[in-house]
């Protein structure tokens, strides 16, 4: 790869989705003299935040309380969330959401002009702000358009970051990135770096995640020595369209939709999720119950129904039905119009007249780059926020509508802390960092542009095998054997990865090269997921072991920390205790009367 000129800024943000843009604005606004670089492999408005549908949680209504939001989050997380971080998150959430409202987000409104809220799974009280059912789209575009106001935010659109640059004092000072248009690898330097690259759903074959969600930032941090935390916790959303994996938002159940099996029976009532109230009952949909149970439980119920032979077989695998018909056309069009559009276009079903076929689909990675509650990693000057990071507020199962709020709260916070670090640590050695970026360009050229190497394997061959290994080995239910098999396949794929050859050895917009680099990221992330899952011999939240079916707080009320090994051996797994402040681990109950009992909080 050609070596490009070096660019210098104060803070470098890798990723232009919700978290990266919020961080950019936080720095640009509070530090007008700072130059902020926003480096993204796509144009920011293409970022995956754009697909989020249902909403973003924050206490705004008088019938809600911060304490309820905290408790719902902690119990939803099966007590693996750090309670100090959850408190910070919940306390900051309303301010951040109001800020985004001030920046023009078109929130749906009540007749009096205040923002409207809807219930989501695992919530005691409705607190999800929404912009119809395109909440992520509107949040992303509002944030992106707001960044255009700040002349000190410099965008590097379609720049694919491949490596973090660390100075002689161990501080992170930028990244090497390929400018896609020219294929030039350049050093983009700054005094601090924030990774906001999102999730890694593309490790699995059946996912709501767009093609860009390949865990690049997680992989870069992992290779820089930062632990990937709690990677065994992967969220399956219970309602994806078969075939495509397109998400049908939880808001469809928040508005009253029901899940039924092949007999038309509301099977969730058989799994300790409460009573099936009639859809005409004014108490339906009941919060923290039935269809408004948490995502991990609902996805697990699907598998049990399948084992019992009560799901519906289709050419795209087994499904259950999400029935919205009783909501009526007017409500569907007003509250969840995108659900209707997607169902019609991609499933050939109009939910006004027919139930939607759905099945669980990989949606979100609870784990990620280990950060503390200041969004700082173990490498000085390196921060992370959003889905790529693990604070952790999501623990073993994220509550629906907490992730969009998380982008704002921790994006802003990472921005503030990175700016402070940049002010306190201004000096670094440019030639040293430039040399690292030059090495990176040479490494990429050696690895991928060697035309003497022929007859290697194609990217798709390895990617497909990785998908099969993860789906078979590390899906909704796992055991030691299935996970061990996944670990072995991933190790084999890591070996074979070096022998992948490309058709394309040109510079301009080489998306076969970026697909190969993305495959490398996926293998790193999969390795951390599978090995962390093997070691956690308990069942908690989204991590369900058929050979260890109970939660084990004595041994595993702790975050797993996977450390990359440079010699090619499996990651080292360590544990870090969960921060428990006021909410001791308890039974995770849903159904009538569940939720915070005053006596549980001390």
């Amino acid at each position: 790869m050609a070596h490009g000129t070096t660019h210098e800024h104060d803070v470098i943000i890798i990723g232009g989705g919700g978290a990266g843009l919020r961080a950019s604005i936080a720095i640009a606004q509070e530090n007008p003299d700072f130059s902020v670089a926003c480096v993204s492999k796509v144009y920011p408005m293409r970022s995956h935040t754009v697909t989020a549908e249902g909403g973003a949680a924050a206490k705004i209504k008088p019938n809600d309380s911060l304490e309820d939001h905290i408790y719902d989050t902690i119990s939803g997380a099966d007590w693996l969330a750090d309670q100090d971080a959850v408190e910070y998150f919940v306390n900051e959430a309303p301010t951040e959401m109001i800020q985004l409202e001030h920046w023009g987000c078109p929130w749906s409104r009540e007749p009096d002009g205040s923002v409207a809220v809807r219930p989501f799974g695992g919530m005691k009280i409705e607190r999800t702000w929404f912009a119809a059912d395109k909440t992520g789209f509107h949040m992303l575009h509002s944030l992106f358009q707001t960044t255009l106001k700040y002349g000190n935010i410099v965008r590097y659109d379609e720049h694919f970051a491949t490596r973090l640059l660390i100075d002689g004092n161990g501080r992170c000072r930028g990244c090497a990135a390929i400018e896609l248009r020219t294929g030039t690898v350049r050093a983009i330097l700054g005094k601090a770096v924030i990774i906001c690259t999102g999730g890694a759903g593309r490790v699995f074959p059946f996912t709501t995640n767009g093609s860009i969600k390949t865990g690049d930032g997680m992989s870069m941090a992992y290779r820089a020595g930062v632990a990937l935390k709690d990677m065994e916790f992967i969220q399956y959303h219970p309602t994806g369209l078969p075939g495509t994996g397109i998400l049908i938002t939880e808001a469809s159940r928040g508005e009253g939709g029901i899940l039924v099996n092949k007999d038309g029976y509301r099977y969730l009532q058989d799994y300790e999720l409460g009573e099936a109230l009639d859809v005409s009952d004014p108490r339906h949909p009941q919060k923290r119950a039935m269809e408004l149970g948490p995502r991990d439980r609902l996805s697990q119920c699907f598998i049990k129904e399948r084992w019992a032979g009560r799901t519906i077989e289709t050419k795209d695998g087994h499904v259950v039905h999400l029935d919205l018909r009783h909501l009526g056309e007017a409500k569907i069009d007003k509250k969840i119009p995108f659900v209707r559009e997607l169902s019609r276009n991609y499933a050939g079903i109009d939910p006004v007249y027919k139930p939607i076929p759905v099945r669980p689909v990989v949606h979100y990675v609870m784990g990620g780059i280990d950060v503390d509650s200041n969004s700082a990693t173990s490498v000085p000057g390196l921060y992370a926020a959003g889905e790529c990071a693990c604070v952790s507020i999501n623990g073993a199962n994220r509550l629906g509508s907490n992730s969009l709020t998380e982008l704002l709260v921790f994006g802003a916070q990472a921005g503030r802390h990175a700016a402070r670090f940049a002010m306190d640590n201004p000096d670094y050695d440019v030639p040293d960092l430039e040399a690292q970026a030059e090495d990176e360009g040479a490494r990429i050229r050696r690895a991928w542009f060697d035309t003497s190497r022929k007859d290697g394997e194609r990217i798709v061959t390895l990617r497909t095998e990785l998908h099969e290994a993860m789906e078979d080995g590390a899906g909704i239910y796992r055991n030691a054997d299935s996970l061990q098999a996944a670990c072995e396949t991933i190790a084999d794929l890591h070996e074979r990865y070096r022998n992948v050859t490309l058709d394309d050895h040109t510079n301009s917009f080489n998306t076969e090269l970026t697909a190969a680099l993305e495959l490398g990221s996926l293998l790193d992330v999969a390795e951390a997921m599978a090995h962390s899952a093997v070691e956690r011999t308990e069942s908690r939240g989204s991590h369900q072991r058929l050979d260890h079916t109970e939660r084990n707080d004595d041994d595993f009320l702790a975050h797993s920390m996977a450390f990359h090994q440079n010699d090619g051996s499996p990651p080292r797994i360590e544990y870090k205790p969960v921060t428990i402040t006021k909410w001791p681990p308890g039974a995770r109950t849903y159904g009538a009367g569940s939720g915070l009992k005053k006596s549980e909080s001390t």
């Binding site: 697909t51 023009g104 078109p106 409104r109 990217i459 301009s508 917009f509």
Partner: protein, 252 residues
């Protein structure tokens, strides 16, 4: 998808590489036919299995990220929403969006659009100091409805490819950018209309539009940029009159 007795169809793809090609060319590929597939699936299949050098943008494959707009048999389309079954068994011709410079194959340059978007100041402008302590700005459902549809633009650029003016008149800001500028002008929380009109009323920026209305026809998200431009022109005409024909204090 079963490969036995697989039906196939032909996809003809526009190819151009700035490093090696003087002229664009077309390359035909045989792809498996699956009635559930969209044009984007066929392109991805070609890239994965046949020709890794084929270059196109995509991400969400659910019609909201706006990456995969291309010309499909001459019409601007999101390829994630253009089903093979609507063309089968005839061949499908895929080209980059017209009215944009081609970077490589099906990838076009968005530089011009990004400048135009920035020019219309697509963000809330207010005189008061930003302060979140007073809670949200109230906005009634009726006020929301004033601008909501214009906020649905995914920046997919199909409207620029459909517009007969956008390709020839550089000064024209184009359908999406004008609709987004108008979106903020119509937002009850905004006070920046005058600043935006400073940009929109210059030269051909808005006046270039000849009301063909193709932008509205091709919009995959049912935004009505033509309507936005018409409304904005009406506001602009009044403003133009106030500013230049009868300036403040002239007693009109």
């Amino acid at each position: 998808m079963t490969m036995s007795a697989q039906q196939t169809m032909t996809i003809e793809v526009f190819r151009y590489h700035p490093e090696t090609d003087d002229e664009p060319r077309f390359q035909a590929y045989e792809v498996p036919y699956d009635e559930d597939w969209v044009v984007l699936d066929a392109l991805n299949w070609i890239k994965d299995h046949v020709d890794g050098s084929l270059t196109h943008r995509w991400s969400c494959r659910m019609g909201v990220c706006g990456s995969c707009g291309m010309m499909v048999n001459g019409d601007p389309k999101l390829t994630c929403a253009a089903f093979l079954k609507d063309y089968y068994p005839r061949p499908i011709k895929v080209e980059p969006l017209v009215n944009f410079p081609v970077e490589r194959d099906l990838v076009v340059s968005l530089d011009g659009f990004m400048e135009k978007l920035e020019a219309v100041k697509p963000y809330i402008i207010r005189d008061d100091v930003n302060d979140t302590s007073g809670g949200e700005y109230l906005q009634s459902p009726a006020e929301l409805a004033q601008y909501k549809q214009y906020s649905m633009c995914i920046n997919c650029m199909l409207c620029y490819a459909a517009c007969p003016v956008a390709g020839h008149e550089d000064e024209f800001l184009g359908p999406a950018a004008l609709a987004l500028g108008h979106r903020y002008n119509k937002d009850s929380r905004d006070q920046g209309q005058s600043e935006r009109l400073d940009v929109m009323l210059v030269g051909e920026a808005i006046w270039g539009c000849t009301f063909v209305g193709e932008c509205t026809v091709v919009c995959p998200k049912h935004v009505d940029p033509a309507g936005a431009i018409q409304q904005a022109k009406a506001v602009g005409a009044q403003e133009y009159f106030k500013r230049f024909v009868a300036p403040k204090g002239a007693g009109v």
